[in-house]
């Protein structure tokens, strides 16, 4: 079973209204590379054109935040939950 990307409400319009999208990959980078092929409009909400995670995007793999840790090199097992959230910021 592929990893499941779980989306916040604000991004579901980039995934035909779905809350979850299955994308193959053994690392977060591979998952997002797959997403770039599958749903490019969604992928660029998460990463800029250099391939870096956007500053105010949070990603949790199986409940553990990737920021300040392995980031895009974070291993992603089959069936993992890749949870995306907007950082609490702005005004």
């Amino acid at each position: 079973m592929s990893p499941r990307l779980v989306l916040p409400a604000a991004l579901r319009n980039c995934a035909d209204g779905r809350r979850e999208v299955e994308v193959q990959g053994a690392t977060l980078r591979e998952v997002l590379d797959g997403l770039a092929t599958q749903l490019p409009v969604l992928e660029r909400r998460l990463r800029d054109e250099r391939g870096q995670l956007r500053e105010h995007v949070l990603v949790f793999v199986d409940g553990v935040g990737v920021r300040g840790a392995a980031e895009l090199d974070t291993p992603v097992r089959d069936g993992a939950e890749v949870y995306v959230a907007p950082a609490v910021s702005g005004g």
Partner: protein, 365 residues
């Protein structure tokens, strides 16, 4: 029946205004792209129907350029990003500051000015843009600094008849021109002072903090510039500039608009510079010159009488394509005003909107 539309880009979304009765009153659509900054809007009236553009920045999900072929009711985001830096630049787009359709003789060409300092060009009507490498690789680039708003290329002025000529303006790098279709670019700031530099170093080749440049297609050699300290005119396409601020209460401000039917008539909204950045005397006033900046008149009828502290940003003033032309401006407290008689009388289009960043208007079929 022809209608005038006004795109109001704000710090928290886009509001479309549509006139009801010959621009005397307006219907405002509900806000779109809520909580997204809309720094750049454009109407490409060369197409039928006109194509609308909006540069939209989400604080979380980044910048996108979208377009609408139904006058702003629905929007399309191309599957491939309309504007993205090539991989070799190792740079990411921060925001789109300007979307500028080219003149009629280049029907599918659209330019975009962005942050960080760069200009992009589309040859397919604004679906896909490519970086103009000549400016990106300019040897001056390491010395260009950001203005307070960022390292923005905020003005693109394609020459009305010669497609090889384009002028751009950047904060705080100055004005640059190309006459070979973007291969090479030369600074064009002679005569513009940089007053915050030490004495003797105030006329640099580049590094001016230009806020806006405007021109009229019938007189492309004549340019008007609002700078961070200084209002200027060039009568030779930017070879040199002379001050035209005599008669204005302040030489600081952001917008500069040329009347679409009167090339010597220009509009300004001065601000008490630059520590205050409020209208001088807290009076909401538009200044107009009918002699290319040699003298200025003040216009206030229909504008607020109460003390007014809000600024008008560089793209928050515009003209429409009507006859007589409508002139519009929006403020950072979300008021939008319009005049159809050149400024003698102003009427409110909207109020209590989020702070206004960008306006564009056109008469559409």
């Amino acid at each position: 029946m022809a209608q005038t539309i006004l795109m109001i880009g704000t710090r928290k979304g886009l509001v479309m205004a549509r006139d009801r009765d010959h621009r005397q009153s307006w219907n405002l659509d509900p806000i779109q792209f809520a909580n997204n900054e809309v720094y750049a809007v454009a109407i490409d009236s060369r197409r039928d129907p006109p194509r609308l553009f909006a540069g939209v920045v989400s604080p979380h999900w980044g910048p996108v350029l979208v377009h609408s072929d139904d006058l702003g009711r629905t929007w399309t985001e191309p599957e491939q990003a309309a504007i993205a830096f090539p991989e070799a630049t190792d740079t990411a787009l921060i925001r789109v500051w300007q979307i500028q359709p080219a003149p009629d003789n280049q029907p599918d060409v659209v330019y975009a000015g962005v942050e960080p300092h760069a200009v992009f060009r589309s040859d397919d009507g604004g679906v896909r843009f490519r970086l103009i490498e000549g400016l990106w690789k300019h040897p001056h680039r390491p010395e260009w600094t950001p203005g307070a708003g960022g390292a923005c290329l905020h003005t693109v002025l394609p020459h009305p008849t010669d497609p090889r000529k384009v002028l751009v303006a950047m904060s705080a790098a100055g004005v640059y021109r190309t006459s070979d279709g973007g291969e090479t670019w030369q600074p064009a700031n002679t005569g513009i002072e940089v007053v915050w530099r030490p004495e003797g170093q105030r006329r640099p080749e580049f590094g001016q903090c230009v806020h806006k440049v405007a021109t009229h297609p019938a007189r492309p050699e004549r340019l008007y510039a609002q700078n961070h300290f200084g209002v200027y005119r060039s009568d030779n396409g930017g070879d040199s500039w002379e001050a035209i601020e005599s008669g204005l209460p302040s030489n600081f401000g952001f917008p500069m608009v040329v009347h679409p039917q009167r090339p010597a008539t220009i509009f300004s909204f001065p601000l008490q510079a630059d520590a205050e950045r409020m209208p001088p005397g807290a009076r909401c006033r538009v200044y107009r010159s009918d002699d290319a900046g040699d003298s200025w008149q003040t216009f206030a009828a229909g504008l607020p009488d109460d003390p007014y502290y809000a600024a008008v940003l560089r793209d928050a003033m515009c003209a429409d394509s009507g006859d007589p032309a409508g002139i519009y401006f929006g403020t950072r407290v979300g008021d939008v005003f319009a005049t159809v008689d050149g400024g003698d009388a102003w009427a409110q289009v909207g109020s209590h909107l989020p702070d206004v960043l960008s306006l564009r208007a056109a008469v559409v079929p």
